[in-house]
Symmetry: C2
Subunit: 334 residues, 2 copies
C-alpha cells in the first residue's frame, strides 16, 4: 500500500537516489558492487518507478493515444491491432478512447492526451473542419490522422483513396446493369464521407448516367442511419435498382431494411457496401464491398507516428493505401 520510492531503494542499497536512477536508466558507469546492491534492493522492495514523476521531469511518456470515432465499428477495432503490434514492438503502450462521433467527447480526450503528455496520438477526426488539435500542437505532441483528414492542420495521415474506391464500386454497379443507383452517405462533415460521395458522382458521370438528387441520402455512420436511409430510398416512387452504402455499420442497417421490406438482393436491387463487416455478416450473406486494408492502415500510421515521436524531422507525409472491391453475391445480376 505504501508506495515504494526511489529514496527507499537508495536507503536500503546504501546509495543515493541519483545512483539508483543511473543504474536503472542511463548507461553511465556505476561500480559493479553498487549496481548489484541497487538491483537487489529494487527486486526485494518491488520498486516500480512512478511514471508521473518521471515524465514530469523528462517530459516524455511511452504511451500512445488512439482516439477513434466509434468503438463498435469493426473497422476501427481491426485497425487497432495493427497499431498495437507496432507500438508494443517498439516498447510503447496503447490506450484507446472512444469519441463516439461527438465533437465534445473528442475534444475532451484530446485534452486528456495533452494533459497526460502522451507521446503521440492517432486520431480519426469526427469532423474535417471543426476538430481542432491545437491542444496537442501546443505541446508538440505529434498526431497522425487515420481514415479521415483534417482540413486545416498540416498533419500526417494514412487512409485509402475513397474517391477512387467509391467510383470503382459505382461503375461495378453500372456494369451489372443498374441505372438508378442509390447512395447512402455517411457524415458529409468527414473527408471520408465527402470523398465517397464525390467518387460516386464521378462514377455516374463517367458512365454517362444522370445523378438524381433524391437518390442520395445521408445519415449517421450507424446501423440505424443505414436502416432509415434505406427506408427512405425504398419509399421513392421510382425505386433504385442498385444501392451503394458507404459504411459497414450502415450496410447492416440497409440489409435489415431490405429484408423487412421484402426486397431481395441481388435480384431486386444490387448491393455494394463499404468496409468488410465482421466476418459475421459477410459469411452468411456474401455482400460485395470495398475492402480496406485495416491492419495495414494501423500499422503504417503507427510507424509514421513513432518516427515523429522520435523527433525525426521530415515533411508532412500522406499515405494513401489501396482499397479493393471484393465482388460477392449481393451485386451480381445474372
Amino acid at each position: 500500500m505504501a508506495q515504494v520510492t526511489i529514496r527507499e531503494v537508495a536507503r536500503t542499497a546504501g546509495v543515493s537516489p541519483a545512483t539508483v536512477s543511473r543504474v536503472l536508466n542511463t548507461s553511465e558507469t556505476v561500480s559493479p558492487d553498487l549496481k548489484e546492491r541497487v538491483l537487489a534492493a529494487v527486486r526485494d522492495l518491488g520498486y516500480r518507478p512512478n511514471s508521473q514523476a518521471r515524465s514530469l521531469r523528462t517530459r516524455a511518456t511511452t504511451v500512445l493515444g488512439v482516439i477513434i470515432s466509434d468503438i463498435t465499428n469493426p473497422f476501427f477495432t481491426a485497425m487497432v491491432r495493427g497499431v498495437e503490434d507496432v507500438a508494443s514492438a517498439a516498447g510503447y503502450s496503447v490506450v484507446l478512447a472512444n469519441a463516439d462521433e461527438d465533437l465534445r467527447k473528442e475534444q475532451r480526450y484530446l485534452e486528456v492526451a495533452a494533459a497526460e503528455q502522451m507521446a503521440g496520438v492517432l486520431l480519426s477526426p469526427a469532423s474535417a473542419t471543426e476538430t481542432s488539435i491545437d491542444v496537442l500542437a501546443e505541446r508538440g505532441i505529434p498526431v497522425v490522422t487515420i481514415d479521415r483528414r483534417l482540413k486545416s492542420a498540416d498533419v500526417d495521415w494514412v487512409m485509402v483513396d475513397n474517391h477512387r474506391a467509391a467510383k470503382e464500386a459505382t461503375l461495378h454497379l453500372v456494369e451489372q446493369g443498374c441505372r438508378r443507383i442509390g447512395f447512402i452517405a455517411g457524415r458529409l462533415g468527414t473527408t471520408t464521407g465527402a470523398g465517397r460521395l464525390a467518387g460516386y458522382r464521378a462514377g455516374l458521370r463517367a458512365a454517362g448516367l444522370p445523378s438524381a438528387r433524391e437518390l442520395v441520402v445521408s445519415g449517421e455512420f450507424r446501423i440505424d442511419g443505414g436502416r432509415e436511409a434505406t427506408e427512405r430510398l425504398l419509399a421513392l416512387p421510382d425505386r433504385p435498382d442498385g444501392l451503394f452504402v458507404s459504411n459497414n455499420l450502415m450496410t447492416i442497417g440497409a440489409v435489415d431494411a431490405l429484408d423487412t421490406a421484402g426486397v431481395r438482393f441481388p435480384d431486386d436491387i444490387a448491393l455494394v457496401g463499404f468496409d468488410d463487416m465482421m466476418p459475421a455478416l459477410s459469411l452468411r450473406s456474401q455482400i460485395t464491398a470495398v475492402s480496406q486494408p485495416t491492419y495495414e492502415i494501423g500499422r503504417q500510421a503507427t510507424e509514421l507516428l513513432l518516427r515523429r515521436v522520435s523527433g525525426e524531422p521530415f515533411p508532412e507525409r500522406h499515405i494513401t493505401l489501396n482499397a479493393e472491391l471484393k465482388v460477392r453475391e449481393s451485386s451480381i445480376r445474372a
Copy 2:
C-alpha cells in the same frame, strides 16, 4: 509549444502560484479582485494544468482504465458504452486497453494503470488463477472485474450467472429433442469458461442425459477456435444433434464450419450461442443465444468502481445479473 505553467499565470496576474491554485481548485476564499485577475490570465494564456504534476502531488487522477480481453468482441465494446456513460457523467475519462487474452500484455497494462495512478480499473481477467492485480492493490487502486472473476483476490465483480444461463440453454436444446448435445467451451482458465461448462453438464444431468467426453471441445474465444471445434465435432462417428457454443465469436466460426460442411441448422443440428453477435449475424441467420445485459454490466460495474474510488468503505460486493435465453430460429425443430 512552450508549456504555460502556473507560475506564468501567477506572474501575469500579479499574484503567487498558491493563489492561482486556490482559485482553480479549492473553495477557500480569494478576494474577488484577485480571482478576476487570475481567471483572466488563465483565459488569456490558455493555461492547462499539467495533470502529471497535479496528480504527483494529489495522488489522484480522473482517469479510469478498462482492460478488456478482446477488443474485437462486440460484447466488450457494447459494455464499454455503459462504462463511458457513467464515467463521463461523473467527470471521469475512460481509456481502454486490449489485453488480447494474453497474460503478458495484460500484466503490462496493469502496470501502466498503476504507473499512471489511474483512479480505478475495470478488468476482464485473462485467467482466473494467473492474473494478478497486486500491482494495483499495492497502490490502493480499486478494481472491479467484469464478465469474469479472479480466484484469489477479494475483489468486487459484476457478471451474469453463467452456470444458470448455460444450464437453461442446454435444457432448451433437450426440449427440442436433442439427445447428443455438443458443447464448444472457451478458455477453461476463465471463470466464465468454466462456469458455462459446468452449467452445460448440470443441464444434461437434470435431463437425465449422459455426458459424453467427446462431445465437449474447447478452444480459444475466437472465430477460428469455434470453427475448428465444430469441425472436430462434425468428424465424430456419431454426430451431435445439438450444439451449444459458449461464446459469440466462436459461434460465428461454428456457423461457418456448419455451412462449409453442408450441415444445416436447425434441421440437421440445433444451434444455440452465447452472447448476441453484432446485430449483423443475428439479423440474417436468427441464432438462438443467451443474451447478456452488456450495457448494464458496464454501467453497474462503473458505478461500483466509482464508489470505491471515492473511498466509500463497504464489504466486497458481487453483482449477478440475469442473462436471457433468446430463442430464435436456429434451435427450433418443428
